[in-house]
Structures are given as C-alpha cells and as structure tokens.
C-alpha cells in the first residue's frame, strides 16, 4: 500500500473513531457553556451503549436503539442536573458518581448480552457521486456512518446557535455570569437543566454509535475512557463546537493508529497513546496562557443560588 492510500484510509477511519468523541464533546461544550461541568460523560456513554445495543438487538432496529440511547443518556444527565443545579451539589463529585453508576449499571444489566454480535447493525453509507471524487471521496464519503455525517452537521448548527442567535447569547450569559443573566430575566436553572440534558442526550448517542455501528456488539466497559477524553477535548477545543470537529478527528486518529501500528509497537503501549496525548495537549494549551482568554465560561463549576452573592 502506498503512503497516499495509507493516509487516506487513516483519515477515513479517524473520522469514524472520532465520531463518538465529537458527539460527546459537543454535548459537554454545551453543558459547560451553561456553567456546569459534567464528569459523568463516561457513565452516560456506557448507559447509551448498552441501551442502544439491547434495544437494537431485541427489536432488530438499530435506529430505534440510537434513539433510546439518546433518551437514556438524557435521563442520566437529569440526575446530574438535579443534584448540581437544584441541590447545588459539588459538580465534580456528582459527575464521578454518575460515571461509577453508569459503568456499574450497564455492566450489571449487560451481563447476559456480553460478546454477542449485533444482528442488524446500522448500515454504512457511501454517498453517490461524491464517493467518486479522487482522494476526498475515499477519505470522507465511502463507508461512513450516517451518525458521522449528522455529527458534522450538528457541530455547525450548534456553533451557529451558540454565536449567532439569542439562545446562544442566553446560554453563554448563564455560564459567564448567572447573577447578571438572572437580573435580566433569564431562568438560569432552566437553561442549565436544558444544557446538561442536551449534553447527556449527545453522550448517549455517542455510546450508541459504539455498540450499534462502530463495533456492533456489547462488552462491559466498551467506552474504555472515551468519556474522559471528551472532557479533555472540551478544554482543548476552547468550548467551540466547530473546533470540536478537529479535536475529535485528531484523537480519533490516535485511537485508530493504536491498532494500525501494532505490527511495530506493543499494542498495550499504543493503547495508552490517546490518554498520554490528552495530557500533553492540555499542557500545551496551558503554555499558551490563561483559560479565561480562550473562552472558559466565567462561572464554570460554580453552583448558582438565587439571592446569594
């Protein structure tokens, strides 16, 4: 295989592996833009992956599986929203609890489904005409998932919503300075609830993609730390939905290369690559200067209580 083909296929697979990272990151970007950190992404993805597989396997309808995964992820996020927004609990601890709970519950319920291949996975799509374009065709338009394309469109839509509409301004103002937003008549609690739930819905889809499309099967812990990479990516892409595409493809490439390079390097050492890279990338971000200037929401991680300073 020539190096051109090698590069083209690597980018194509990076897009496929980056898809769950993209969906997860888009969700976390919105949650954090409203001022709520959700460290439960890994747990919500696990719940999404299991519920998507269970539904797709028993109904034979992978699309329905993805839909249920979205609802399940949203439901899991609702717990986090209730604890951190209404009860003003520590966001870090609540997110960690959600991750433990999600991994545990999916492992428990998924025991009987372990290791069985999915009968009807989501079909891959080859876009007519576009797939025939040299280089770009095989890179982007052959054998990709509909969820990959939806994720790319969603990133652009969420970017426009965030920066070009009133809704976006409202969301950002709640994350920047909830007291000011409240004084201007914005329902801070409602906005935070919606943003956190949206984050869960997208994380659920990310998990569902893993179990009905990317690796059509269920294994306990199949999210394998992707949810944590999402948290790092959110900072790396400076809370920007369109930049999330680049970040997700970059880390998707690392995941893919950890299989691709196995003839030369021990597989275990390759698998630690994305995690080590996440630290290195954030260290470079830190060299670049303060988080605030890069768009970190001002009230990130701070619970809001009406009538207190």
């Amino acid at each position: 295989m020539g190096w051109e083909e090698w590069l083209i296929s690597t980018i194509a697979r990076a897009l496929a592996y980056g898809t769950p990272l993209l969906w997860g990151t888009l969700g976390e970007v919105y949650a954090e833009r409203s001022g709520v950190v959700n460290l439960g992404v890994e747990g919500m993805m696990a719940i999404g992956a299991f519920s998507a597989f269970a539904v797709a396997q028993s109904t034979g309808n992978p699309g329905l599986g993805i839909l249920v995964a979205a609802v399940a992820g949203g439901g899991a996020a609702l717990i986090h929203a209730f604890l951190t927004v209404t009860l003003r609990a520590n966001q870090y601890v609540s997110g960690l609890a959600l991750t433990m709970f999600g991994l545990g519950l999916s492992g428990l319920l998924g025991r009987g489904w372990e290791g069985v291949p999915l009968k009807h996975p989501l079909p891959a799509i080859t876009v007519p005409y576009l797939a025939d374009i040299p280089i770009l065709g095989p890179m982007l338009f052959q054998n990709q998932s509909i969820i990959t394309y939806l994720g790319l469109v969603l990133a652009v839509v969420l970017w426009v919503l965030l920066y070009r509409t009133r809704w976006g301004i409202t969301l950002r103002s709640v994350g920047e300075s909830p007291a000011t937003a409240d004084a201007l008549g914005v329902n801070v609690y409602l906005v935070r609830y919606l943003a956190v739930i949206l984050g869960g819905v997208l994380a659920g889809v990310a998990g569902g993609y893993l179990s009905v499309e990317y690796r059509p099967s269920w294994t306990e812990g199949m999210t394998g730390g992707m949810g944590w990479i999402v948290i790092a990516l959110t900072i790396f892409v400076a809370w920007d939905p369109v930049q999330a595409i680049g970040g997700a493809v970059l880390f998707g490439a690392l995941y893919h290369l950890s299989y691709r390079l196995q003839p030369w390097v021990a597989p275990e050492l390759l698998k630690l690559m994305p995690y080590a890279a996440a630290i290195i990338v954030l260290a470079f971000v830190g060299l670049g200067g303060a988080q605030r200037r890069r768009g970190a929401p001002g009230a990130l991680g701070v619970p809001y209580a009406r009538g207190e300073k």
Partner: protein
C-alpha cells in the same frame, strides 16, 4: 427561615456533628433501598440478597476478616485523598498510583536481588516513591501549566493501566506463568504474614492506621498542614500569606500518591504475590477511595472508619458474585448510588428542622 407545614426550617452556618452523622447514615440507607429496586429488577429478591450479604460478611469472623482485608487499600488511599482534597487538589488518580506502587514493589521483589530481610521494607519504600512520583506529575502540571487536575490524574490512570498490561504481557511475563498474563510468583521473603485463618495482611493494616494518625497530626499540628488548609480554602489568601503554592501542592501529592503506592505494594506483597492484569490488582479501590475521603469530610481518622464501610461493600460484592451469580459491578452501582445520595443530602445538613405548629394568633 422557611415554614413547611408545621415545621420551621432555620439555616445554620455550620452543620452539627449529629446532623452530619445522621444525614450521612440516612443517605446510605436510601441508597441501599434504591439498590434493592435494582436487585429486584435484575430478578433477585432484594430481601434475600441483603440477607445473603449479611450472612457472608458481618455474621462471621471470617466475613469480618474479608471486610478488613478489602478495607486495607481503601484506608491508605482514602487517607491520602483526604489530604489532597484538603488542598483542593482533585486527585482522581489513586487507581493509577496504586498500580505504580504495585509495579515498583514487583520490580524490587523479583529483580532487586536484595537480601531477604530487606526485601519487604524495600518493596514498600519503592511502592511509596513510585506512587508519589505518579502523583507529583499532575501536581507540577497543575501549578506550572494549569492543566486541570481531574483530567491529568485520570488520564495517568489509563496510562499506568496500559503500562501494567504491557509488563505482564511482555517483558515481565513470567516463564513459569504457563501462558497467563502474570509475572513470576514472588519469593517467600517478599510475602507479608497473614493473620492465621484469614487473608488479612495485618502489617499493611497497621501501616494504614499509623498513616491516618500521622496525617491527622500533620494537618492539624504542623506548618505544612496549616498551609495545606489555607491553600484549600482560598488560593488568593494563600498567595497573600506568602505560601508557596507549588511547594504545598507537591508535598500534598507526594503524600497522597505515596500512600496509594503503599496500598499497591501491600496488595502485591499481601494478596497477589505477583503482578497481574490491572483490573485484578485494584478493582476500583482508587475510585472508591474518593467516596471514602468525601465521606470522611477532611478527617484522616474518619477515613479509617469510612474505609471499613466500603470494605464491607467490596466484601459484599464478592459474596453476591459467588452466591447470587451477579457480576462484581454491583459494587459500582452501590458506590454511585451512595455518592449521589450523600452529595444530594449535603444541603439538608445546613437546615435545622424544628417542630413548631402554627397558632392562629401568630398569623398577622
């Protein structure tokens, strides 16, 4: 002040000790009730499940011994995390620090060639140092490059997990392990004595309790402890007081990572006697220790007690696995639920509830 029916709610500045204890217990009980629903949904009679758990753990001396054995690494990690959390350093990396300690202890046990009497002390020392180094990397990254501590400590868990996988599949794979992903067994001199009839490696237990006492002293009676508390309460205040943020953070993570490393060395020398796949070495002690520390509310001595509580949950996980054929992940469900209810009830502790029925005359 708020009025709910015949009750009056009054806000208080600091929760009383009784309120903290009572509400925490209530939270644990509520979590067990929700877990009962999950048991039931799984097709296991919850009443039967809890009875089996009780019989397998608290009803016999052997059961208690298992609780204590499971609590040993939780005590060490929990105490370390209490110290880290006191400085507002989010060390979610105890899991990786345990593994770092296990790797170092294995290296000493198998390859150092030290004379027998020196072997065990050297394993513990190496375990402490490896855990400390693995903990101080994120400390440096946080202070120097503002890398979020949650993310860096977590990522290092995965990095160390795969390093252990690599070691047991590759360079340290034992010639006598017959194709399994194990290192060779440790020599006799590298194994800790057990309390007869149990699996309790009591030396690590003693070390853990001693560390809890030492850390309690450190936090309340020394300059470093004072600085740790100031940094934890307000980084701005610490700066004005001339406290060296880098120095304090490094010390805190040296202790926190080091204690987790000791736990890893203890598990190697006391339970497994060889390096094996990471999921078997730790099974989430490092993550559970976060709850142990959170529940201990900043007190290293209280962490010993809360570690025993979660030792009970791990022991219960073993019982459930054998007796009810449920996967060990049950413990994660318990842990997640308990944590949800604990932090959910936090706000409640700041309200004092008083019985004060309304009188017609008092309504103006």
């Amino acid at each position: 002040m708020k009025r709910v029916g015949p009750f009056v709610l009054e806000r208080r500045l600091a929760p009383s000790r009784g309120a903290v204890l009572g509400i925490s217990l209530l939270a644990v009980v509520l979590a067990l009730l929700v877990a009962a629903v999950i048991f039931w949904g799984y097709g296991v009679n919850p009443w039967h499940a809890y009875r089996v758990i009780f019989q397998g753990t608290l009803a016999s001396p052997q059961g208690w011994a298992e609780v204590v054995r499971r609590a040993i690494p939780l005590i060490l990690c929990g105490v370390g995390l209490v110290v880290a959390f006191r400085a507002q350093f989010w060390n979610i990396g105890a899991e990786g620090q345990i593994l770092a300690g296990a790797v170092a202890a294995t290296g000493v046990a198998l390859f150092s060639g030290l004379p027998d009497p020196w072997l065990l002390p050297a394993m513990f020392l190496a375990g402490f140092l490896a855990g400390a180094v693995w903990g101080m990397i994120p400390a440096l990254l946080k202070v120097k490059l503002r890398v979020n501590d949650v993310i860096s400590t977590l990522m290092l868990n995965y990095v160390m997990m795969y390093i252990v996988e690599w070691l047991v599949h590759g360079p340290w794979k034992g010639p006598t392990a017959r194709g399994f992903a194990y290192s060779d067994l440790f020599p006799r001199a590298a194994r800790l004595p057990l309390i007869p009839g149990t699996r309790v490696h009591w030396i690590t237990l003693v070390v853990g309790v001693a560390m809890a006492i030492a850390c309690a002293f450190l936090l309340s009676r020394t300059k470093l402890g004072y600085e740790t508390r100031v940094v934890g309460q307000s980084q701005d205040a610490a700066r004005y007081a001339g406290i060296d943020f880098l120095k304090v953070t490094l010390w805190v993570m040296l202790i926190s990572g080091g204690l987790a490393g000791l736990a890893g060395a203890g598990e190697m020398a006391g339970v497994h006697y060889r390096l094996r796949s990471p999921a078997h070495i730790s099974m989430g002690y490092g993550y559970t220790a976060i709850i142990v520390a959170w529940l201990a509310r900043g007190s290293p001595l209280a962490a010993v007690v809360t570690a025993l509580l979660f030792g009970l949950i791990f022991a219960a996980g073993d019982v459930i696995k054998v007796a009810l054929a449920m996967p060990f992940q049950v413990t994660d469900v318990f842990n997640g639920l308990i944590l949800f209810f604990l932090i959910g009830s936090e706000l409640l502790m700041y309200w004092h509830i008083r019985w004060a029925p309304k009188r017609a005359a008092s309504e103006g």
